[in-house]
Amino acid sequence: MAGGAAGEAQCLSYTGCNFLRQRLVLATLSGRPLKIRKIRAKEEDPGLRDFEASFIRLIDKVTNGSRIEINQTGTTLYYQPGLLYGGSLEHDCSPSRGIGYYLESLLCLAPFMKHPLKIVLRGVTNDQVDPSVDVLKATALPLLKKFGIDGESLDIKINRRGMPPKGGGEILFACPVRKVLQPVQFTDPGKIKRIRGTAYSVRVSPQMANRMVESARGILNKFLPDIYIYTDHMKGVSSGKSPGFGMCLTAETINGTILSAELASNPQGQGAAVLPEELGQNCAKLLLEEVYRGGCVDSTNQSLALLLMTLGQRDVSKVLLGPLSPYTIEFLRHLRSFFQIMFKIETKTPEEEHVGGEKVLMTCVGIGFCNLSKTIR
Protein backbone atom coordinates (compact mmCIF):
# COMPACT_ATOMS: atom_id res chain seq x y z
CA MET A 1 0.00 0.00 0.00
CA ALA A 2 2.40 2.66 1.17
CA GLY A 3 6.11 3.03 0.82
CA GLY A 4 6.13 3.89 -2.85
CA ALA A 5 8.76 6.05 -4.40
CA ALA A 6 8.16 9.74 -4.05
CA GLY A 7 8.09 11.92 -7.08
CA GLU A 8 6.13 9.90 -9.58
CA ALA A 9 2.62 9.86 -8.19
CA GLN A 10 1.53 6.39 -7.27
CA CYS A 11 -2.08 5.44 -6.80
CA LEU A 12 -3.05 4.60 -3.26
CA SER A 13 -5.92 2.27 -2.72
CA TYR A 14 -8.10 1.80 0.31
CA THR A 15 -11.24 -0.07 1.20
CA GLY A 16 -14.21 1.07 3.22
CA CYS A 17 -15.96 4.34 3.86
CA ASN A 18 -13.98 5.39 6.93
CA PHE A 19 -11.72 8.44 6.91
CA LEU A 20 -12.92 9.55 3.50
CA ARG A 21 -12.19 13.18 4.25
CA GLN A 22 -8.65 12.52 5.47
CA ARG A 23 -7.86 10.52 2.38
CA LEU A 24 -9.28 13.04 -0.05
CA VAL A 25 -7.55 15.94 1.68
CA LEU A 26 -4.18 14.21 1.83
CA ALA A 27 -4.48 13.01 -1.75
CA THR A 28 -5.16 16.58 -2.83
CA LEU A 29 -2.20 17.98 -0.90
CA SER A 30 0.22 15.26 -1.96
CA GLY A 31 -1.06 15.12 -5.54
CA ARG A 32 -1.36 11.36 -5.43
CA PRO A 33 -4.30 9.61 -7.04
CA LEU A 34 -6.57 7.66 -4.78
CA LYS A 35 -8.86 4.71 -5.20
CA ILE A 36 -11.36 3.69 -2.56
CA ARG A 37 -13.26 0.44 -3.00
CA LYS A 38 -16.07 -1.32 -1.16
CA ILE A 39 -17.71 1.81 0.20
CA ARG A 40 -20.53 0.32 2.29
CA ALA A 41 -20.62 -2.54 -0.20
CA LYS A 42 -22.41 -4.95 2.10
CA GLU A 43 -25.01 -2.59 3.46
CA GLU A 44 -28.62 -2.44 2.45
CA ASP A 45 -28.09 1.06 1.14
CA PRO A 46 -24.67 0.76 -0.48
CA GLY A 47 -22.34 3.46 -1.66
CA LEU A 48 -21.58 7.01 -0.69
CA ARG A 49 -23.97 8.95 1.52
CA ASP A 50 -25.33 12.32 0.53
CA PHE A 51 -23.01 14.20 2.86
CA GLU A 52 -20.00 12.41 1.37
CA ALA A 53 -21.20 13.18 -2.13
CA SER A 54 -21.55 16.79 -1.05
CA PHE A 55 -18.01 16.71 0.32
CA ILE A 56 -16.66 15.36 -2.96
CA ARG A 57 -18.46 18.14 -4.81
CA LEU A 58 -16.84 20.64 -2.47
CA ILE A 59 -13.39 19.20 -3.17
CA ASP A 60 -14.17 19.44 -6.87
CA LYS A 61 -15.11 23.11 -6.38
CA VAL A 62 -11.94 24.18 -4.62
CA THR A 63 -9.65 22.35 -7.04
CA ASN A 64 -9.05 22.77 -10.74
CA GLY A 65 -8.61 19.77 -13.00
CA SER A 66 -9.58 17.04 -10.57
CA ARG A 67 -10.86 13.82 -12.01
CA ILE A 68 -13.47 12.05 -9.96
CA GLU A 69 -14.99 8.76 -11.01
CA ILE A 70 -17.68 7.00 -9.06
CA ASN A 71 -19.23 3.75 -10.17
CA GLN A 72 -22.97 3.13 -10.59
CA THR A 73 -23.64 2.00 -7.03
CA GLY A 74 -21.27 4.49 -5.49
CA THR A 75 -19.16 1.81 -3.86
CA THR A 76 -15.95 2.67 -5.71
CA LEU A 77 -14.35 6.07 -5.92
CA TYR A 78 -11.39 7.07 -8.01
CA TYR A 79 -9.90 10.50 -7.40
CA GLN A 80 -7.10 12.11 -9.31
CA PRO A 81 -6.39 15.42 -7.63
CA GLY A 82 -6.01 18.63 -9.53
CA LEU A 83 -4.52 21.86 -8.29
CA LEU A 84 -5.98 23.79 -5.40
CA TYR A 85 -7.54 26.84 -6.95
CA GLY A 86 -9.62 28.63 -4.34
CA GLY A 87 -11.30 31.95 -5.03
CA SER A 88 -14.79 33.07 -4.10
CA LEU A 89 -17.11 30.10 -3.82
CA GLU A 90 -20.39 28.92 -2.38
CA HIS A 91 -21.41 25.49 -1.25
CA ASP A 92 -24.59 23.94 0.09
CA CYS A 93 -23.59 21.37 2.66
CA SER A 94 -25.74 18.37 3.34
CA PRO A 95 -27.89 18.93 6.43
CA SER A 96 -27.17 15.40 7.65
CA ARG A 97 -23.77 16.57 8.86
CA GLY A 98 -22.65 19.85 10.33
CA ILE A 99 -20.77 22.53 8.44
CA GLY A 100 -17.86 21.57 10.71
CA TYR A 101 -17.48 18.35 8.76
CA TYR A 102 -16.70 20.35 5.64
CA LEU A 103 -14.93 23.22 7.34
CA GLU A 104 -12.41 20.97 9.07
CA SER A 105 -11.11 19.79 5.73
CA LEU A 106 -11.19 23.25 4.21
CA LEU A 107 -9.00 24.46 7.07
CA CYS A 108 -6.41 21.89 5.96
CA LEU A 109 -6.57 22.91 2.31
CA ALA A 110 -7.18 26.65 2.39
CA PRO A 111 -3.61 27.87 3.06
CA PHE A 112 -2.36 26.13 -0.10
CA MET A 113 -4.76 27.56 -2.67
CA LYS A 114 -3.73 29.53 -5.72
CA HIS A 115 -6.13 32.31 -4.82
CA PRO A 116 -7.20 33.10 -1.27
CA LEU A 117 -10.28 31.07 -0.43
CA LYS A 118 -13.48 32.90 0.38
CA ILE A 119 -16.32 30.49 0.69
CA VAL A 120 -19.90 30.66 1.86
CA LEU A 121 -21.08 27.40 3.38
CA ARG A 122 -24.75 26.73 4.05
CA GLY A 123 -26.14 24.03 6.28
CA VAL A 124 -26.09 23.04 9.92
CA THR A 125 -23.78 25.23 11.98
CA ASN A 126 -24.12 23.38 15.27
CA ASP A 127 -24.93 19.73 15.80
CA GLN A 128 -24.07 16.94 18.20
CA VAL A 129 -21.63 15.09 15.95
CA ASP A 130 -19.23 17.45 14.23
CA PRO A 131 -17.20 20.25 15.75
CA SER A 132 -19.35 23.33 15.54
CA VAL A 133 -18.43 26.42 13.61
CA ASP A 134 -18.12 28.30 16.91
CA VAL A 135 -15.50 25.88 18.23
CA LEU A 136 -13.51 25.87 15.01
CA LYS A 137 -13.57 29.65 14.96
CA ALA A 138 -12.32 29.78 18.53
CA THR A 139 -9.67 27.05 18.31
CA ALA A 140 -8.58 26.33 14.74
CA LEU A 141 -8.01 29.93 13.67
CA PRO A 142 -5.55 30.69 16.50
CA LEU A 143 -3.80 27.44 15.62
CA LEU A 144 -3.43 28.47 11.97
CA LYS A 145 -1.98 31.76 13.15
CA LYS A 146 0.77 29.94 15.01
CA PHE A 147 1.90 28.36 11.75
CA GLY A 148 2.17 31.75 10.11
CA ILE A 149 -1.21 31.76 8.40
CA ASP A 150 -2.62 35.02 9.61
CA GLY A 151 -3.75 38.40 8.47
CA GLU A 152 -6.98 40.26 8.49
CA SER A 153 -8.56 38.04 5.92
CA LEU A 154 -8.38 34.93 8.12
CA ASP A 155 -11.90 34.76 9.45
CA ILE A 156 -14.95 32.64 10.09
CA LYS A 157 -18.19 34.56 10.30
CA ILE A 158 -21.50 33.06 11.31
CA ASN A 159 -24.16 34.88 9.34
CA ARG A 160 -26.99 32.56 10.23
CA ARG A 161 -27.28 29.78 12.70
CA GLY A 162 -28.87 26.53 11.60
CA MET A 163 -29.68 23.60 13.83
CA PRO A 164 -30.42 20.07 12.70
CA PRO A 165 -32.48 18.49 11.22
CA LYS A 166 -33.30 21.24 8.71
CA GLY A 167 -30.32 23.51 9.00
CA GLY A 168 -30.54 26.84 7.28
CA GLY A 169 -27.34 28.26 8.69
CA GLU A 170 -24.74 30.17 6.74
CA ILE A 171 -21.12 30.97 7.40
CA LEU A 172 -18.33 32.74 5.61
CA PHE A 173 -14.84 31.31 5.74
CA ALA A 174 -11.93 33.30 4.41
CA CYS A 175 -8.29 32.30 4.53
CA PRO A 176 -5.16 33.86 3.06
CA VAL A 177 -2.60 31.77 1.16
CA ARG A 178 0.96 31.11 2.25
CA LYS A 179 3.89 29.80 0.33
CA VAL A 180 5.50 28.06 3.28
CA LEU A 181 4.55 27.34 6.85
CA GLN A 182 6.55 28.12 9.95
CA PRO A 183 7.81 25.30 12.15
CA VAL A 184 6.46 25.40 15.68
CA GLN A 185 7.89 24.56 19.08
CA PHE A 186 4.87 24.25 21.23
CA THR A 187 5.58 22.20 24.30
CA ASP A 188 4.38 24.16 27.30
CA PRO A 189 0.68 24.97 27.48
CA GLY A 190 0.91 26.86 30.78
CA LYS A 191 -1.91 27.49 33.19
CA ILE A 192 -5.45 28.36 32.39
CA LYS A 193 -5.95 32.10 32.21
CA ARG A 194 -9.57 32.59 31.28
CA ILE A 195 -12.69 30.91 30.06
CA ARG A 196 -14.86 32.24 27.29
CA GLY A 197 -17.85 30.77 25.62
CA THR A 198 -21.03 31.17 23.66
CA ALA A 199 -24.47 30.02 24.67
CA TYR A 200 -26.70 30.14 21.64
CA SER A 201 -30.38 29.60 21.14
CA VAL A 202 -32.48 29.72 18.01
CA ARG A 203 -36.24 29.52 17.74
CA VAL A 204 -36.57 28.84 21.46
CA SER A 205 -36.96 31.17 24.42
CA PRO A 206 -33.99 33.55 24.79
CA GLN A 207 -33.99 32.57 28.47
CA MET A 208 -32.50 29.19 27.51
CA ALA A 209 -29.11 30.78 26.89
CA ASN A 210 -29.15 32.53 30.26
CA ARG A 211 -30.08 29.31 32.05
CA MET A 212 -27.18 27.47 30.40
CA VAL A 213 -24.74 30.22 31.34
CA GLU A 214 -25.94 30.22 34.93
CA SER A 215 -25.39 26.49 35.45
CA ALA A 216 -22.06 26.38 33.64
CA ARG A 217 -20.80 29.25 35.76
CA GLY A 218 -21.94 27.38 38.86
CA ILE A 219 -19.24 24.81 38.15
CA LEU A 220 -16.51 26.90 36.56
CA ASN A 221 -16.56 29.78 39.05
CA LYS A 222 -15.00 27.50 41.66
CA PHE A 223 -11.81 27.35 39.62
CA LEU A 224 -11.17 30.81 38.28
CA PRO A 225 -12.93 34.16 38.21
CA ASP A 226 -12.26 35.28 34.64
CA ILE A 227 -15.25 33.75 32.91
CA TYR A 228 -17.34 35.38 30.27
CA ILE A 229 -19.96 33.47 28.36
CA TYR A 230 -21.74 35.35 25.60
CA THR A 231 -25.41 34.70 25.03
CA ASP A 232 -26.26 34.63 21.37
CA HIS A 233 -29.91 34.59 20.50
CA MET A 234 -30.62 34.83 16.81
CA LYS A 235 -33.98 35.78 15.39
CA GLY A 236 -35.83 35.77 12.09
CA VAL A 237 -33.96 34.63 8.99
CA SER A 238 -30.69 34.29 10.85
CA SER A 239 -32.12 31.63 13.14
CA GLY A 240 -32.31 28.88 10.56
CA LYS A 241 -35.12 26.41 10.09
CA SER A 242 -35.07 24.30 13.24
CA PRO A 243 -35.21 25.14 16.94
CA GLY A 244 -32.39 24.27 19.29
CA PHE A 245 -29.82 25.56 21.70
CA GLY A 246 -26.35 24.71 22.85
CA MET A 247 -23.13 25.93 24.29
CA CYS A 248 -19.45 25.94 23.52
CA LEU A 249 -16.76 26.82 26.04
CA THR A 250 -13.09 27.59 25.55
CA ALA A 251 -10.32 27.77 28.11
CA GLU A 252 -7.32 29.86 27.19
CA THR A 253 -3.92 29.39 28.83
CA ILE A 254 -1.25 31.99 29.48
CA ASN A 255 0.72 30.67 26.50
CA GLY A 256 -2.21 30.96 24.13
CA THR A 257 -3.38 27.37 23.99
CA ILE A 258 -7.11 27.14 23.57
CA LEU A 259 -9.00 24.08 24.76
CA SER A 260 -12.66 23.66 23.96
CA ALA A 261 -15.79 21.74 24.78
CA GLU A 262 -19.30 21.89 23.42
CA LEU A 263 -22.75 20.42 23.64
CA ALA A 264 -25.93 20.89 21.68
CA SER A 265 -29.55 20.04 22.40
CA ASN A 266 -31.17 17.04 20.76
CA PRO A 267 -32.57 17.84 17.32
CA GLN A 268 -36.27 18.51 17.17
CA GLY A 269 -38.23 15.27 17.27
CA GLN A 270 -35.22 13.12 18.17
CA GLY A 271 -34.58 11.96 21.70
CA ALA A 272 -35.81 13.44 24.95
CA ALA A 273 -35.87 17.16 25.59
CA VAL A 274 -32.70 18.43 27.25
CA LEU A 275 -32.84 20.85 30.13
CA PRO A 276 -30.62 23.87 29.53
CA GLU A 277 -29.34 23.65 33.13
CA GLU A 278 -28.24 20.10 32.57
CA LEU A 279 -26.59 20.97 29.27
CA GLY A 280 -24.70 23.87 30.79
CA GLN A 281 -23.42 21.71 33.64
CA ASN A 282 -22.38 18.88 31.36
CA CYS A 283 -20.64 21.25 29.01
CA ALA A 284 -18.66 22.75 31.89
CA LYS A 285 -17.68 19.24 32.96
CA LEU A 286 -16.58 18.42 29.44
CA LEU A 287 -14.39 21.49 29.48
CA LEU A 288 -12.81 20.32 32.73
CA GLU A 289 -12.20 16.94 31.13
CA GLU A 290 -10.53 18.64 28.20
CA VAL A 291 -8.37 20.68 30.54
CA TYR A 292 -7.38 17.46 32.29
CA ARG A 293 -6.33 15.96 28.97
CA GLY A 294 -4.50 19.16 28.26
CA GLY A 295 -1.72 19.56 25.75
CA CYS A 296 -0.99 22.55 23.57
CA VAL A 297 -3.64 21.73 21.00
CA ASP A 298 -7.28 21.02 21.58
CA SER A 299 -8.25 17.41 20.88
CA THR A 300 -10.50 18.42 17.97
CA ASN A 301 -7.56 20.07 16.23
CA GLN A 302 -4.86 17.48 16.83
CA SER A 303 -4.83 16.28 13.26
CA LEU A 304 -4.82 19.80 11.83
CA ALA A 305 -1.77 20.65 13.92
CA LEU A 306 0.01 17.46 12.86
CA LEU A 307 -0.76 18.13 9.21
CA LEU A 308 0.60 21.65 9.38
CA MET A 309 3.72 20.36 11.12
CA THR A 310 4.20 17.82 8.36
CA LEU A 311 3.80 20.42 5.66
CA GLY A 312 6.17 22.85 7.34
CA GLN A 313 9.66 23.82 6.23
CA ARG A 314 12.49 21.34 6.61
CA ASP A 315 12.83 22.05 10.28
CA VAL A 316 11.94 20.34 13.52
CA SER A 317 8.48 20.96 14.88
CA LYS A 318 7.39 19.86 18.31
CA VAL A 319 3.99 19.90 19.85
CA LEU A 320 2.66 18.52 23.10
CA LEU A 321 -0.73 16.89 22.80
CA GLY A 322 -3.17 15.30 25.18
CA PRO A 323 -4.08 11.64 24.63
CA LEU A 324 -4.28 10.94 20.91
CA SER A 325 -7.78 10.52 19.56
CA PRO A 326 -8.55 7.49 17.34
CA TYR A 327 -9.07 9.87 14.45
CA THR A 328 -5.61 11.35 15.00
CA ILE A 329 -4.00 7.92 15.16
CA GLU A 330 -5.50 7.01 11.80
CA PHE A 331 -4.43 10.38 10.49
CA LEU A 332 -0.83 9.65 11.48
CA ARG A 333 -0.98 6.41 9.53
CA HIS A 334 -2.35 8.24 6.53
CA LEU A 335 0.36 10.87 6.80
CA ARG A 336 2.89 8.08 6.55
CA SER A 337 1.19 6.63 3.48
CA PHE A 338 0.87 9.92 1.64
CA PHE A 339 3.96 11.83 2.71
CA GLN A 340 6.33 9.10 3.99
CA ILE A 341 6.62 10.93 7.25
CA MET A 342 6.70 9.40 10.68
CA PHE A 343 6.44 11.26 13.93
CA LYS A 344 8.50 10.67 17.00
CA ILE A 345 5.95 9.91 19.67
CA GLU A 346 6.97 10.18 23.30
CA THR A 347 4.73 9.69 26.28
CA LYS A 348 5.14 12.29 28.96
CA THR A 349 3.79 11.47 32.39
CA PRO A 350 3.33 14.68 34.32
CA GLU A 351 5.63 14.79 37.33
CA GLU A 352 3.85 17.57 39.12
CA GLU A 353 0.32 17.37 40.37
CA HIS A 354 -2.46 19.46 38.90
CA VAL A 355 -1.31 19.15 35.31
CA GLY A 356 -3.76 16.47 34.29
CA GLY A 357 -3.32 13.19 32.49
CA GLU A 358 -0.62 11.75 30.32
CA LYS A 359 0.66 13.86 27.47
CA VAL A 360 2.21 12.94 24.18
CA LEU A 361 5.09 14.84 22.66
CA MET A 362 4.97 14.73 18.87
CA THR A 363 8.11 15.61 16.95
CA CYS A 364 8.69 15.65 13.22
CA VAL A 365 10.73 17.28 10.51
CA GLY A 366 8.61 19.07 7.94
CA ILE A 367 8.71 17.84 4.37
CA GLY A 368 9.36 21.33 3.05
CA PHE A 369 6.00 21.56 1.36
CA CYS A 370 5.66 24.45 -1.04
CA ASN A 371 2.43 25.90 -2.25
CA LEU A 372 2.66 24.46 -5.76
CA SER A 373 -0.15 26.58 -7.07
CA LYS A 374 1.68 29.73 -6.07
CA THR A 375 5.08 29.08 -7.57
CA ILE A 376 6.50 26.88 -10.27
CA ARG A 377 9.21 24.50 -9.19
Binding site: L332, F343, K344
Partner: protein
Protein backbone atom coordinates in the same frame (compact mmCIF):
# COMPACT_ATOMS: atom_id res chain seq x y z
CA UNK B 1 11.48 15.22 43.26
CA UNK B 2 10.78 11.59 44.16
CA UNK B 3 14.01 10.49 42.59
CA UNK B 4 16.06 12.91 44.61
CA UNK B 5 14.38 11.64 47.76
CA UNK B 6 15.33 8.07 47.02
CA UNK B 7 18.83 9.20 46.24
CA UNK B 8 19.15 11.01 49.53
CA UNK B 9 17.82 7.94 51.30
CA UNK B 10 20.45 5.84 49.66
CA UNK B 11 23.14 8.28 50.56
CA UNK B 12 21.84 8.22 54.13
CA UNK B 13 21.97 4.49 54.25
CA UNK B 14 25.22 3.83 52.52
CA UNK B 15 27.62 5.22 55.14
CA UNK B 16 25.88 3.16 57.79
CA UNK B 17 26.23 0.10 55.68
CA UNK B 18 29.83 0.85 54.95
CA UNK B 19 30.47 1.25 58.65
CA UNK B 20 28.92 -2.14 59.25
CA UNK B 21 30.96 -3.64 56.49
CA UNK B 22 34.20 -2.21 57.71
CA UNK B 23 33.59 -3.68 61.14
CA UNK B 24 32.83 -7.02 59.52
CA UNK B 25 35.88 -9.24 59.64
CA UNK B 26 37.18 -9.57 56.13
CA UNK B 27 34.10 -10.96 54.45
CA UNK B 28 32.84 -7.75 52.94
CA UNK B 29 33.31 -8.42 49.25
CA UNK B 30 30.58 -10.93 48.58
CA UNK B 31 27.99 -9.21 50.69
CA UNK B 32 28.73 -5.79 49.43
CA UNK B 33 28.51 -6.82 45.85
CA UNK B 34 25.20 -8.49 46.44
CA UNK B 35 23.78 -5.50 48.27
CA UNK B 36 24.75 -3.08 45.58
CA UNK B 37 23.11 -5.33 43.05
CA UNK B 38 19.97 -5.38 45.06
CA UNK B 39 20.02 -1.64 45.24
CA UNK B 40 20.43 -1.40 41.51
CA UNK B 41 17.51 -3.65 40.87
CA UNK B 42 15.40 -1.66 43.28
CA UNK B 43 16.41 1.54 41.62
CA UNK B 44 15.63 0.24 38.21
CA UNK B 45 12.22 -0.83 39.33
CA UNK B 46 11.53 2.55 40.82
CA UNK B 47 12.83 4.32 37.78
CA UNK B 48 10.09 5.33 35.40
CA UNK B 49 12.28 5.07 32.37
CA UNK B 50 12.14 8.77 31.64
CA UNK B 51 15.70 9.79 32.43
CA UNK B 52 17.51 6.52 32.25
CA UNK B 53 20.83 7.81 31.11
CA UNK B 54 21.26 10.25 33.92
CA UNK B 55 20.54 7.59 36.52
CA UNK B 56 22.74 5.07 34.83
CA UNK B 57 25.75 7.30 34.94
CA UNK B 58 25.17 8.04 38.59
CA UNK B 59 24.77 4.40 39.36
CA UNK B 60 27.94 3.53 37.57
CA UNK B 61 29.75 6.26 39.45
CA UNK B 62 28.50 4.96 42.74
CA UNK B 63 29.33 1.40 41.79
CA UNK B 64 32.80 2.44 40.82
CA UNK B 65 33.23 4.09 44.16
CA UNK B 66 32.05 1.02 46.00
CA UNK B 67 34.20 -1.23 43.91
CA UNK B 68 37.22 0.82 44.69
CA UNK B 69 36.37 0.55 48.37
CA UNK B 70 35.96 -3.18 48.05
CA UNK B 71 39.29 -3.42 46.27
CA UNK B 72 40.92 -1.46 49.04
CA UNK B 73 39.50 -3.85 51.60
CA UNK B 74 40.71 -6.73 49.48
CA UNK B 75 44.19 -5.36 49.25
CA UNK B 76 44.25 -4.79 53.00
CA UNK B 77 43.20 -8.31 53.60
CA UNK B 78 45.65 -9.59 51.04
CA UNK B 79 48.49 -7.85 52.74
CA UNK B 80 47.37 -9.40 56.02
CA UNK B 81 47.23 -12.78 54.40
CA UNK B 82 50.58 -12.23 52.80
CA UNK B 83 52.08 -11.73 56.17
CA UNK B 84 50.66 -15.03 57.22
CA UNK B 85 51.34 -17.01 54.03
CA UNK B 86 54.42 -16.66 51.92
CA UNK B 87 53.29 -18.06 48.55
CA UNK B 88 50.93 -16.06 46.29
CA UNK B 89 49.16 -19.07 44.80
CA UNK B 90 48.32 -20.28 48.22
CA UNK B 91 46.89 -16.87 49.02
CA UNK B 92 44.58 -17.03 46.07
CA UNK B 93 43.55 -20.55 46.86
CA UNK B 94 42.94 -19.61 50.39
CA UNK B 95 40.87 -16.65 49.34
CA UNK B 96 38.75 -18.79 47.10
CA UNK B 97 38.33 -21.37 49.77
CA UNK B 98 37.51 -18.75 52.29
CA UNK B 99 34.83 -17.27 50.09
CA UNK B 100 33.23 -20.59 49.41
CA UNK B 101 33.40 -21.48 53.03
CA UNK B 102 31.79 -18.22 54.09
CA UNK B 103 29.03 -18.61 51.56
CA UNK B 104 28.19 -21.99 52.93
CA UNK B 105 28.04 -20.53 56.38
CA UNK B 106 25.75 -17.80 55.08
CA UNK B 107 23.42 -20.33 53.54
CA UNK B 108 23.20 -22.39 56.67
CA UNK B 109 23.24 -19.63 59.25
CA UNK B 110 20.77 -17.18 57.70
CA UNK B 111 17.20 -18.00 56.98
CA UNK B 112 16.46 -19.05 53.43
CA UNK B 113 14.51 -15.82 52.93
CA UNK B 114 17.65 -13.74 53.18
CA UNK B 115 18.98 -15.09 49.90
CA UNK B 116 15.67 -15.68 48.23
CA UNK B 117 16.14 -12.69 45.94
CA UNK B 118 19.01 -14.53 44.30
CA UNK B 119 16.72 -17.23 42.98
CA UNK B 120 16.01 -17.03 39.24
CA UNK B 121 17.28 -13.50 38.85
CA UNK B 122 17.10 -13.60 35.08
CA UNK B 123 13.44 -14.45 35.16
CA UNK B 124 12.77 -11.65 37.57
CA UNK B 125 14.68 -9.24 35.41
CA UNK B 126 12.69 -10.35 32.41
CA UNK B 127 9.48 -9.85 34.32
CA UNK B 128 10.54 -6.40 35.47
CA UNK B 129 11.42 -5.48 31.91
CA UNK B 130 8.08 -6.65 30.63
CA UNK B 131 6.27 -4.80 33.39
CA UNK B 132 8.14 -1.67 32.46
CA UNK B 133 7.25 -2.14 28.83
CA UNK B 134 3.62 -2.60 29.67
CA UNK B 135 3.40 0.39 31.97
CA UNK B 136 4.76 2.77 29.30
CA UNK B 137 3.32 1.58 26.02
CA UNK B 138 5.33 2.25 22.90
CA UNK B 139 2.92 4.62 21.18
CA UNK B 140 4.98 4.71 18.03
CA UNK B 141 4.60 0.99 17.71
CA UNK B 142 0.91 1.21 18.43
CA UNK B 143 0.41 3.85 15.78
CA UNK B 144 2.68 2.65 13.02
CA UNK B 145 2.63 -1.08 13.67
CA UNK B 146 5.48 -3.53 14.09
CA UNK B 147 7.22 -2.57 10.87
CA UNK B 148 8.60 0.51 12.59
CA UNK B 149 10.84 -1.47 14.90
CA UNK B 150 12.45 -3.30 12.04
CA UNK B 151 13.17 -0.06 10.25
CA UNK B 152 14.68 1.39 13.39
CA UNK B 153 16.91 -1.60 13.83
CA UNK B 154 18.24 -1.47 10.31
Amino acid sequence: SERTETKSEISDHSPKRKAVLTTDSGNCTAEEASESEEEDSLLEEGDDGGSHEELDTEESNRNGFQHSQGKKADSVRQTKLKTVDTEDDDVENLLREEEEYEEKIDLSADTTGALKWKEDLTQKAAEAFLRQQRSTPNLRKLVYGTAVEDEDQE
